[in-house]
Amino acid sequence: MTAILLAEQVLNGLQLGLMLFVMASGLTLVFGVMGLINLAHGSLYMTGAFAAAAVAGATGSFLLAMVAALAAAAAAGALIEVTVIRRLYKRDHLDQVLATFALILIFSEGVRWIFGSFPLYLDIPVWLSGPVTLPGGIEYSRYRLALIAVGLAIAGGLFWMIGHTRLGIRIRAGADDREMIAALGVDISKLYTAVFALGAALAGLAGGLVGAIQSVQVGMGEPVLILAFVVIVIGGIGSIKGALVGAILVGLTDTLGGIFLPTALAALTDAASANSIGSAMASMAIYVLMAGVLIFRPKGLFG
């Protein structure tokens, strides 16, 4: 295990973590402000990826594709908020889980109906492809580095928005006491639609960005959704800061566990079984991390 390989894996972990953060921040905002658990967040991620792949296929422009991912997911988010989600705020969590599960069925089959079952591909643009040499002689994918930069920029933007803008003040107030801010004359239903569409847009953007390094296919959203759940359970539901810390922890654990566990086990048993047991254990590592956090802090790190 060389230092360069280790640095690469840390960067991969950061990249995964930051994309998870973009996904999880929307979930945690929606839960913090509206008290809603949204299983269909993964469908919005998928919507973004498909919109990006379709627009990139038609125009050839990567930037237009990302704009399409944002816009399509925000529009889909606003649409389901107005038609379905709005009726669920006052319901118990069981109703929210079921209604959003129903939305997943509709989204997944709807997308399969429109685009077919075969995966689509979204190419990395020329100006972001190829490796880049970092200080210390580390060769790293330019695109993944760009994802890290975009993730950090979105994190910074969100913290600024929540902390320093009028919308952010309303979001924080809405999370604390929704009757009070309604009484102060804020149109609460518009605020909710805006917050939901914002979370949806972030999920869609994450889908579009990640779509360039994975295949774009039906069902791509749910594994990410579940990782995002793990992230916000670790970080504490409703906390953006917790989502950032949790996402980076999960990203690093997942990436480094996949590399180190098989190597560490190789010292104990033969190579083949070390590899298979190690990869099985690595796939469970983040859940063990989550269980560990819950034993000591049942409300998450920042809950």
């Binding site: 839960f31 658990i37 379905v84 009726r87 969590h93 069981l94 109703d95 889980v97 079921l98 209604a99 599960f101 129903a102 939305l103 997943i104 069925l105 509709i106 997944s108 089959e109 709807g110 399969r112 109906w113 749910e222 579940i226 759940f229 793990v230 916000i232 359970v233 539901i237 298979s276 990869s279 099985a280 690595a282 796939s283 469970m284 859940y287 989550m290 269980a291 819950l294 034993i295 049942p298 409300k299 998450g300």
Partner: protein
């Protein structure tokens, strides 16, 4: 007999009647469909105990369904290759006997439910939902990346396991066996819901503080309910694997958890026969609509949305009238 009692009797009689009709009409495929529905109903009855009576919205019951399935797969695959599971410290061999497999499935899923429940019941509400989902997913990834028992491809069993005195390869005999298990599980769930334990569990769902105040540990109540619920779902998993003579990680997938929950909601939460009605309707829709339109899940989604938003008691609730 209450109105719900009459409906339950009609539902169960109709279920058995459908299978008998299929037998007389010599339609083994319809018998298999009814068997499938009955197995899903058993899984639903299991989840309903945690979800309906206990108010524990578990999105991870696929873990127990899958453990039951793999209990059957592991035991039967070792039996068919005459290769003992392990020899040290003592000899354990595979088996093709259903009662033994059921026992192993129930014990294994009960132990898993004890571990998952002990951790996840420390939390409530949304945390519990997400954590149960995450633990279910953990088993899914484990099953995929564990190559000894087929990994992603799953495990096939050549001959259905045996039950003393029955020919389980005959569809109607296997249906009768599964239906008997369903009746037993329904009876158990009825007794539990009426027992002191069930009443306390129900009270803990409505007002945990009050139950705690009268000196009952809510955590322990919920843990016991979660374990029993997991055991019943695990038994259903073993039956499901035997029906298909195949297990794969799909049994662990979170969609399976979602579907088990869907049976309960379509039928009616906390209704004894809610999962039976829901599972039967689900299978009927899958068979009838799935044949007409590849994308029938869209219709299932719309039906589910309609029930959640407008008819919250499910079908049994609508027939009985009044909410629970």
């Amino acid at each position: 007999m209450t109105r719900e009692g009459v409906i339950n009797a009609v539902v169960l009689a109709g279920f058995a009647g459908f299978a008998l009709f299929a037998y007389v009409a010599n339609e083994p495929f319809l018998i298999t469909l009814a068997t499938r529905a009955a197995i899903f109903a058993i899984a639903g009855v299991g989840l309903n105990l945690a979800l309906g009576v206990g108010g524990l919205v578990s999105l991870g019951h696929a873990a127990f369904f899958g453990i039951g399935g793999y209990a059957m797969g592991v035991l039967a695959s070792h039996a068919q290759t005459f290769d003992p599971i392990f020899e040290v410290p003592f000899l354990i061999e595979g088996t093709k006997s259903m009662p033994v497999i059921w026992l192993v499935a129930i014990v294994a899923s009960g132990l898993a439910a004890l571990a998952i429940g002990a951790l996840s019941l420390r939390t409530t509400g949304v945390y519990f939902i997400m954590i149960s989902l995450a633990f279910g997913q953990m088993f899914y990834f484990f099953a995929i990346s564990w190559p000894a028992y087929g990994g992603e491809d799953g495990l096939s069993i050549y001959v259905r396991n045996g039950f003393p005195g029955l020919n389980t390869l005959d569809p109607i005999q296997f249906f009768a066996l599964v239906f008997a298990v369903l009746l037993a599980v329904l009876w158990l769930s009825h007794l539990l819901a009426r027992s002191n334990f069930g009443l306390a569990l129900n009270a803990a769902r409505q007002s945990p503080e009050r139950v705690e105040t009268v000196g009952i540990s809510v955590y322990r109540l919920r843990l016991v309910a979660f374990v029993i619920s997991g055991m019943i779902t695990g038994l259903a998993g073993a039956l499901f694997a035997d029906l298909n003579r195949f297990v794969s990680p799909v049994m662990f997938s979170w969609q399976t958890s979602g579907e088990i929950m869907v049976f309960i909601i379509i039928g009616g939460v906390a209704r004894l026969c809610g999962p039976v009605v829901g599972a039967a309707l689900f299978i009927a829709m899958e068979h009838l609509l799935g044949g007409l339109w590849d994308f029938w899940h869209i219709l299932l989604g719309l039906l589910l949305l309609g029930i959640v938003i407008f008819a919250r008691g499910g079908i049994v609730g609508a027939l009985v009238g009044g909410r629970r």
